[in-house]
């Protein structure tokens, strides 16, 4: 018998007695206030991310310094120019030297301060981890109230890769000392900018 057949047969044979229907998941009241932008920003900051408002004045003011210091910028958005063309990348290893990557989020989640990317936004998935810093453009109109609402979105059913980022890469594996940039990006800055 193949492992597959053996496992399926054992699962059938060992099925526990009793009726265990799949429960309906109710829609819970979001735990965030009405100002989703404010709530999103506060929670993102608590998760180690930074938030900048690009809706007034110079839209790039909040990230200017970061961009100015960067030698290699890989941008997946038209709003910010980079010097590394992600569409020309053949192997993920090629983006290893990227200082700043710029990507637009599909949506944000106010409950957690998370942003979602798929392979469509990232172009090269690995750039969101191999880059030293990540700048994320987010349309304030794209902020959902909570995780539950996020999982009703279609991206999870049709993307090859979908990922929620909540702040930068982090670890506290050594005595609970919080450190950003464990393996992935050292910082994540969300720049609020309508599409």
């Amino acid at each position: 018998m193949s492992a597959r057949a053996g496992i399926l047969a054992a699962l059938k044979a060992n099925r526990p007695a009793g009726d265990y229907p799949l429960p309906d998941v109710p829609t819970f009241v979001p735990l965030v206030g009405d100002d989703l932008v404010e709530e999103f920003g506060e929670r993102l900051k608590r998760m180690g991310g930074r938030i900048e408002d690009g809706r007034t004045g110079d839209p790039l003011a909040g990230v200017q310094e970061r961009l100015a210091e960067a030698k290699v910028i890989a941008s997946a958005v038209p709003e910010i120019a980079g010097n590394r063309d992600l569409r020309a990348v053949r192997y993920p290893q090629e983006v290893e030297d990227v200082d700043v990557a710029v990507v637009r989020a599909v949506f944000g989640i106010a409950e957690t301060g998370s942003v979602l990317f798929t392979e469509g936004e990232l172009i090269v998935n690995a750039v969101a981890y191999l880059a030293q810093h990540l700048i994320v453009l987010l349309d304030p109109a794209d902020i959902l109230p909570n995780v539950q609402a996020a999982y009703k979105r279609p991206e999870f059913g049709c993307s090859a890769y979908a990922v929620l980022h909540t702040g930068p890469s982090a670890t506290a594996d050594i005595e609970g000392v919080l450190i950003h940039g464990a393996q992935g990006v050292r910082s994540l800055t969300v720049l609020l900018m309508p599409r």
Binding site: A3, L31, A150, Y151, S159, Y161, V163, A172, E175, Q183
Partner: protein, 532 residues
Amino acid sequence: MSVEDLNPRARDGVIHPEVRAADDESERGQDGGRLQHAEAATKPIRAPKVREAQPRGAKIRGDRPIDQAEAAERFLAAPLHQAAHDERLWDLRKKRDASAHGIPEWEELRELASAIKAHTLTHLDQYLEQFEAAAKANGVQVHWAADGADHNRIVLEILRSRGAETLVKSKSMLTEECGFRHHMAANGIEIIETDLGERIQQLDNEEPSHIVAPAVHKTRMDVAEVFSRTLGTDPDNDDAHYLAESQRETTRPYILKADAGMTGCNFAIAETGTVVTCTNEGNADLSGNVPPLQIHSIGIEKIIPKVEHLGVFIRLLSRSALGSPITQYTSHFRGPRAGTEMHMVLVDNGRSARLGLEEFWTSLKCIRCGACMNTCPVYRRSGGLSYGATYSGPIGLIIDPTFNKRKYSTLPFSSTMNGSCTNVCPVKINIHEQIFAWRKVLVEEHHIPALKQGMMKAAGAVLSRPAAYRAAIGAADSALKVLPRFAVYNPLNTWGKKREMPDAPRQTFHAWYKQNRMQKAAKDATVKDAAR
């Protein structure tokens, strides 16, 4: 690589040294406030900088029963380690409480998660077939492994047929179960763990001591010692940032050159064929997105029916584990990148058999959050390695005997059955009741020491015979002589080594009652009769 090469890069204003207290290195947020997300401690742990050798885990002697108490005693004999360990994990428990109490529907979420898992487990064959079909339609190659050896063989075959020699991986309890790293090393495949804690453990040739925080039993000095020995870092520099950065810089080359990447799986979605991983470091995403070949190892109990159910589990997982609303990364791997291969290995390794254990099958609901470990007062004072098993702490006590009944026969007794584990479990596994039930099974199958069972038999014989019981403790002066040992069922007097004995009572309640109520009543009756 020299020590100089490992110096941290300029940190680009991410941390402002001026807002950091001298003894507190944790990251600050945009507003300058101290951050506590991920598995961060709410205040510095800072084990005192006194050299104290790290206590090692339980002695493994083949199938012979693990002596958890012995290993725990050695852990307690390293008080600096024990205190840091206890404080750190209690802190996670408190963060979990604060996080849970912030969600009015918390208990309802636990109920839902438990019910979704119960449903899925009782229909697991159907959901696995659905998952397989969806994954195949997504261009994924699906494999089935009956046990750990099968898993290792399948993965080795995939690697060999593609000429792969190096594999980077993220943390996976399943691969620990399978002895994957050791097996691959023996077959000439280089395996690099990319989670910091797991990497520390790999370099120290030790198993992870905690599901979520694999090196939580080590102080920074221990890590400095391991890294200086294995990565060439400065042995006198135990700054956590320096150590973490050293790991990052030495691991990155492996990530870039690896022929294959592997992740475990937190949730596998039947409807879409998706593997979901939850990490804080982003290392699963590096493992899955950089090498040209990616492999996901999946315990078959990880299946959930639909994407919408993640809206329940993701809300519970990190809050239960760390008190964070979500992990830094929640990654959904559904199909291969263009020009690369994606494999998923569905592993049974005892799970289908466990499903048939009437009292224990619900342990398959476990989502590996580690909350039961953090809250367990025995675990916090013993260290995870004292259990000598892949799974330690309360969940380990009820899972480990299913892997090896003899070897892990002692573990269900390493508990006070206080029940806190059951209360924090996000999928409502009745952990402490299963510990109680395992004890019964192990006694019935003669897996407890004859001495212990003999003592219980003797106790049962005395306690079921009022006359014998009274004879044993009847007289006030003999009670103290007989009862302490008798009462604690202990011929070795381990009680008195660490605790004072109770004082001698003037008389037992029984004797008092006889004297004050029965004799008095009799006397009163006599007086009444005389007065008549």
